[in-house]
């Protein structure tokens, strides 16, 4: 800003943002205070003692380590799947001519409005008939299948600005469509594929409804955490640790890759002006 802005602006912004994250501070403070103190309220100052007790005990009390591993697997495989399959489809839609191209494209990219609730009932009956309940495929297939609705759009958008000359040059040099994809387009669109990967990882890591319905024994963190937070035990210190464990990875990824996240989530919502 060129004009001199009022001096209170930064103070107001700081004050507001600190109030904003008080609920989060509460969780962090609760996780490092003795259980007896947390029950009185995490803000109490009459007896200050910090302990990592909850951080040590929580692994024996809840299956968080297993959950962490399961979540990492599910989110990781789904992310790799989307990152591998999306670019080929986006390339075909952008650079190749084939029957039903426009129809297929319109159906796929508009499916981004579908809530997960619309697909879970038939999938539940289908997985039950196929014996896939509690199989990781029951979660991975909707994770990856649903992602195409926004990932194809995002990568295709990127390819619209891709230099056509490169594709044409490859064709003149005798490359077929598939060789052109692997040799020319794919190596030069990694940034958009990476943005897709970050979004997909966050969505899958945080997903609750789909694994809640389809998984039984190997549960990812959000499902485990939802069960933990529904307990009436006053083990708030342990619950706070579980909350931090559940959300730490996506929160870090989110903060580190803010830029990619912002670009990606805008493109997926159809706002490219």
């Amino acid at each position: 800003m060129i004009a001199k802005s009022p001096r209170w602006v930064p103070y107001a912004a700081w004050l507001l943002s600190i109030i904003w994250i008080v609920p989060l501070i509460g969780i962090v403070v609760t996780s490092v205070r003795p259980q007896g103190d947390t029950i009185m309220g995490w803000w109490r100052l009459d007896h200050i003692e910090l302990t990592l007790d909850a951080w040590i005990r929580v692994w024996g009390k809840f299956k968080l380590a297993d959950g962490f591993w399961v979540t990492l697997q599910l989110a990781g495989i789904a992310t790799i799947g989307t990152m591998l399959l999306t670019p080929a489809a986006a390339y075909a839609f952008q650079f190749l001519k084939f029957p039903f191209r426009r129809t297929l494209l319109i159906i796929i990219i508009n499916a981004f409005v579908l809530p997960a609730q619309v697909i879970v009932i038939p999938l539940f009956t289908l997985w039950r008939q196929m014996g896939l309940i509690d199989n990781i495929l029951s979660v991975l297939i909707p994770y990856v299948g649903l992602s195409f609705a926004w990932s194809v759009y995002l990568v295709k958008n990127f390819l619209e600005d891709f230099p056509k000359e490169l594709v044409e040059a490859a064709k003149i040099d005798g490359c077929g469509p598939i060789t052109t994809f692997f040799q020319v387009v794919l190596p030069n669109s990694l940034s958009s594929i990476f943005a897709v990967g970050i979004l997909q990882f966050l969505f899958c890591w945080n997903s609750l409804l789909i694994p809640l319905l389809f998984m039984r024994s190997e549960l990812p963190l959000p499902v485990i955490f939802a069960q933990i937070s529904g307990q009436y035990d006053a083990n708030w210190d342990l619950q706070a640790v579980a909350a931090i464990v559940t959300t730490s990875v996506p929160l870090l990824v989110f903060l580190i890759f803010q830029r990619q996240f912002a670009g990606g989530s805008l493109a997926t919502s159809g706002s490219k002006e």
Binding site: N110, A226, T247, S269
Partner: protein, 319 residues
């Protein structure tokens, strides 16, 4: 943009003729020339998309015409599920709750995000860390958001709000916030809006930063104060960002599930059930699959209604 891509394909065909390396293709041949390669590249995407989206979508419509309870034999029910929904007081309440929830969370989060974005645009550099802090709330898992606010609303004196009320001598207003069906829905709305504000903040702040420096300089040279520049230049020019933010928030709050599941579980007395939660309860705790499917179609209709402009725009720019 895409027209350019198309025309380049046209000239593409011509250039290959000039090269003489390829035989002439009739229009039909050219149309399907890439087809085998294209379908090969698309195959995995189409199969998974069909499994995860097309089949379930069609099946949801079909299921909504059947009466299915648990593992019992399905009976064809015609429009019976929809008639039953219309007569179900719980569903009517879910519709009202959905309306209140969707509109309120969008108004609050976009309103707050807009206000904070405009405030921060007055001092971009000094407000970087506050912006990131507010944005961070948006990066917290939705399930964890529910839990974080559970601690704030707790009914006895150990909840943060009640503790503040007691400490400031307003103890008479202390309340079991989540235990009262009048206040529980607002608790859920505030928790969800708190988390969602980060996105409008980001989108609208980006729009304010995209306002041309020249415009602002010209206004400054003409003697406009910072507040006037804000009021007459930056605020109006941030409107495209606001529109995008409203759409994203509407879509997000219609499908919201996680925060409600953890914070209130739909209660008390089903007062915080949106349609997206109602279908879960009917289909997966009462096992009325057909009834739940009919409810999700109502949800889908609402989603499509708010998405019409986005769908038209996407379809138009897509060739």
């Amino acid at each position: 943009m895409s027209e350019v891509a198309l025309s380049s394909r046209g000239s593409d065909g011509k250039s290959s003729q000039v090269q003489g390396g390829e035989r002439r293709l009739t229009p039909l041949r050219r149309w399907i020339a890439d087809a085998p390669a294209a379908y090969l590249l698309l195959l995995p995407v189409l199969v998974l998309f069909a499994f995860a989206v097309v089949y379930p979508l069609i099946q949801t419509v079909i299921l909504s015409f059947w009466d299915i309870k648990g593992l019992g034999k399905p009976k064809f029910y015609g429009l019976g599920n929809f008639v039953a929904l219309a007569q179900d007081a719980n569903f009517r309440q879910a519709v009202t709750t959905t309306l209140l929830w969707t509109v309120s969370t969008t108004v609050i989060s976009v309103g707050a995000g807009w206000a904070i974005a405009l405030l921060c645009s007055l001092a971009p550099r000094q407000t970087l860390i506050p912006r990131v802090m507010i944005f961070a709330a948006f990066g917290v898992s939705e399930a964890v958001t529910g839990y974080v606010w559970l601690q704030v609303y707790r009914g006895n004196a150990t909840g943060l709000i009640n503790a503040i009320l007691n400490a400031t001598g307003l103890g008479a207003f202390a309340h079991p916030w989540l235990g009262d069906s009048q206040t529980a829905i607002w608790c859920a709305i505030i928790a969800y809006s708190w988390a969602q504000t980060g996105l409008p903040l980001l989108v609208i702040y980006a729009a304010t930063q995209a306002v041309s420096r020249n415009v602002i300089e010209a206004a400054y040279v003409d003697g406009a104060s910072a507040m006037a520049i804000m009021r007459y230049i930056i605020a109006p020019l941030s409107m495209p960002g606001v529109r995008v933010a409203i759409f994203i928030n509407l879509l997000g709050s219609l499908r919201a599930f996680d925060t409600i599941y953890v914070l209130t579980g739909g209660g008390p007395v089903r007062s915080t059930e949106t349609i997206g939660y109602f279908m879960f309860r009917e289909s997966f705790t009462q096992f009325k699959l057909g009834y739940g499917a009919a409810a999700t179609l109502v949800l889908l209709a609402a989603v499509l209604l708010v998405s019409i402009p986005a769908i038209i725009q996407r379809t138009k720019v897509t060739t």
